[in-house]
């Protein structure tokens, strides 16, 4: 187990390197520069700028220097937000995205598991059909359509929930914790797709497990229905849900980008897009490295969790 974890951790390094190298190469290959203006700069000024940022050196020296910095965890100064280091920007924006992503995943997990299990227990009932149709709807309605529609309904028509303002969420929340009222709409928007997937996966997983012999044994020896479901069935039925967590995380990163844009939240995704659009190379590389490391570590955690739930899996 320890060896498995160490090997996987070591594998994360080349993967992150691939992402950063690709990003770096794309920045260099793309037309345009971070310093180019509509009018164009005098050649002398341009030469000075290039010297200042080390752009006059051969590409392999630039690449080596950048990689060396990134591997040491120092991403340098942003070019777009002068006076701010990339690390500062990451630590400022991470709480926003993390709060949003985690809340969304928790909502999705609770609602998805509940309805997936209920649908499996009452297969072919009205509840089953309704929740599965709702799940299909959740998969089909894109979050950038769902978000505005939720705002239209809950904020602009019913006046129940505020359309998110991150500053207010922080100001009106308890100390250090943003107010749930303000992040509920974005989190709901983000969670819809996962809720749907989790409900579907739980249902099919549970249906398969409920037919197994060991469930019949559990029933036969007189366990209460609750014990059968919670102690025996859910454990096996949850496997597909756990393995979905990995892909879900990658999607959540994509989803937060959109949801942050819809609700104007200052999160990692917003900065990633802006950095790419503004050719802000240090910020872009830093964010790419940080986000991909995060995703890869979470994937590893998912694989470890998998082993705990299903003892049949052995790591080699």
């Amino acid at each position: 187990m320890i060896r498995f974890i160490i090997r996987r951790l070591l594998l994360i390094i080349p993967m992150v390197l691939i992402v950063i190298t690709l990003t770096w190469a794309l920045v260099r290959l793309a037309p345009g520069n971070f310093y180019s203006t509509a009018k164009g700069l005098p050649p002398a000024v341009e030469k000075n700028i290039r010297a200042r940022y080390g752009l006059d050196k051969p590409w392999y020296i630039q690449y080596g220097k950048t990689m060396g910095q990134i591997l040491r965890g120092n991403f340098g100064f942003s070019r777009q937000y002068q006076e701010q280091t990339v690390n500062e920007i990451i630590w400022r924006t991470l709480p926003v995205s993390a709060t949003l992503g985690l809340t969304a995943y928790l909502i999705a997990l609770c609602v998805g598991l509940l309805f997936g299990t209920l649908a499996a227990l009452r297969q072919n009932s009205a509840l089953d059909y309704t929740s599965m149709a709702a799940a299909m709807l959740g998969i089909s309605v894109p979050n950038f359509v769902l978000g505005p529609l939720l705002v239209l309904l809950f904020s602009l028509t019913l006046y129940w929930l505020p359309p998110a303002r991150w500053e207010w969420a922080v100001r009106f929340g308890p100390v250090g914790i943003p107010s749930l009222r303000y992040i509920l709409l974005p989190a709901l928007t983000l969670s819809a797709v996962y809720m749907a997937y989790i409900a579907r996966l739980t249902r099919s997983g549970m249906l398969e497990v409920l037919r197994k012999d060991y469930i019949r044994t559990a029933r036969a020896k007189g366990l209460s229905e609750r014990a059968v479901i919670f102690r025996h069935a859910l454990r096996g039925g949850l496997l597909p849900v756990v393995s979905f967590t990995g892909p879900a995380l990658a999607f959540i990163v994509g989803g937060t980008v959109v949801v942050e844009r819809v609700f104007s939240l200052p999160g990692l995704g917003t900065y990633l897009i802006n950095a790419a659009l503004n050719r802000d190379e240090p910020l872009l590389l830093g964010l790419a490295a940080f986000i991909s490391t995060l995703i890869l570590i979470f994937n590893l955690l998912v694989d470890i969790a998998y082993g705990y739930i299903d003892p049949r899996i052995r790591y080699s």
Binding site: V145, L149, R211, V257, V258, L272, A288, I291, I295
Partner: protein, 356 residues
């Protein structure tokens, strides 16, 4: 807990139901054996999927010594037709495709509006709520939203189809080559797939499209290039299970070149799962295109896609809600239908994969 009906129905081999008209009178076990020799795939498929239709008519024809075999495709078609949701989804998709293809001309003939035409009368250059003349309303430039949704549908559907085709070509060739060559080549090729699978491609896609000049071609290529991985895995698995069968051996023994064995003999036999997965790729690619266009990284003005329309709508949600409702609902309906068709195809072609 009762068993789902599909599983109860799966029959074991039906030895007293001869299916080959050449040997109607032979004892059942010999017939079964001959069938295995004559049509190993059909037989295997029938046993696996339990597709031998048990209706009476066939039985009577069999008694008369005459029977028509049911191919996997015919059978899948029969099962697909029985799935009401899939049929409804299919009809909706066809209607939406037709609307996107000919709709813009009809709108132009009836109202004179095209997706980019801004009315010359200055008083009309503002957003109007839906009316008879503009069933989906107009945007702040006075452009007809119905026309824009229809033209956007063309772009979105085209991106869906072309990118899926790109992912098909890459994924099928890659998976088939890896599966057939096997050994070290297979090992290396699939390790590469595993590696790319781990890399968060979404970041690369965003960076790529944000940095380079946006064009439809780049969009097709990028979306196709990131969605071939699962396809490669599916095809490889299929090829692995097929490559030791007699028909491959026969082809090899008469000297058919390797590439021809792969693409003429093996690939056509993987078609079932490939079609299912491709059908499910289309909505996911359409969604990704819309996602990128929504962020301003996809289709560029003056062209419209469902993503850019939703983006314009989201910006004006408080004042002109119809600007997001109509493109959003159209898109959701399309994806909804495509997903149902994909699910139905999966159930029809491979009942084993069915979500019970």
């Amino acid at each position: 807990m009762s068993q789902p009906p599909e599983l109860e129905k799966i029959p074991t081999a039906r030895p007293n139901e001869p299916r080959d008209k050449a040997t109607p009178l032979a004892p059942p076990d010999i017939i079964a054996e001959q069938q295995m020799i004559n049509e190993p795939e059909a037989m295997a498929a029938d046993q696996l999927y339990g597709t031998a239709p048990p209706d009476d008519k066939l039985w009577q024809e069999t008694a008369g010594g005459y029977i028509e075999g049911t191919s996997l495709w015919k059978d899948a078609w029969r099962r697909l037709r029985k799935n009401k949701l899939a049929v409804l989804g299919g009809i909706t998709v066809i209607l939406i495709v037709l609307a996107a293809l000919i709709g813009p001309y009809i709108v132009k003939a009836l109202t004179g509006a095209t997706y980019e035409s801004i009315p010359s009368d200055r008083s009309l250059v503002r957003a109007f709520a839906p009316s008879w003349r503009h069933p989906m309303g107009t945007d702040p430039q006075g452009r007809d939203i119905l026309a824009r949704v229809l033209v956007g549908g063309r772009i979105s559907l085209m991106v869906g189809l072309v990118s899926t085709a790109v992912s098909l070509v890459i994924g099928v060739s890659y998976g088939a080559i890896a599966g057939y060559l096997g050994g070290r080549v297979d090992n290396i090729m699939m390790r590469i797939v595993d590696l790319i699978y781990g890399v968060p491609l979404i970041i690369i896609v965003i960076v790529l499209l944000a940095l380079f000049e946006r064009s439809l071609f780049l969009l097709f290529a990028t979306l196709g290039a990131v969605s071939w991985l699962t396809m490669a895995r599916i095809v490889r698995g299929q090829v692995l299970s097929l490559k030791h069968q007699e028909f491959v051996e026969a082809a090899r023994s008469i000297g058919v070149p390797t590439w021809k064995i792969i693409f003429r003999h093996l690939v056509p036999n993987t078609l079932g799962p490939v079609i299912v997965y491709a059908t499910l790729t289309v909505p996911s690619v359409i969604l990704q295109e819309a996602f990128l266009s929504f962020l301003g990284l996809g289709v560029q003005a003056p062209l419209s896609s469902w993503g850019t329309l939703s983006s314009e709508g989201a910006d004006n949600i408080a004042i002109y809600p119809w600007m997001i409702i109509f493109p959003g609902v159209t898109m959701a309906l399309t994806l909804f239908s495509l997903n149902f068709v994909g699910d139905g195809l999966r159930d029809a072609l491979d009942p084993h994969m069915r979500k019970v």
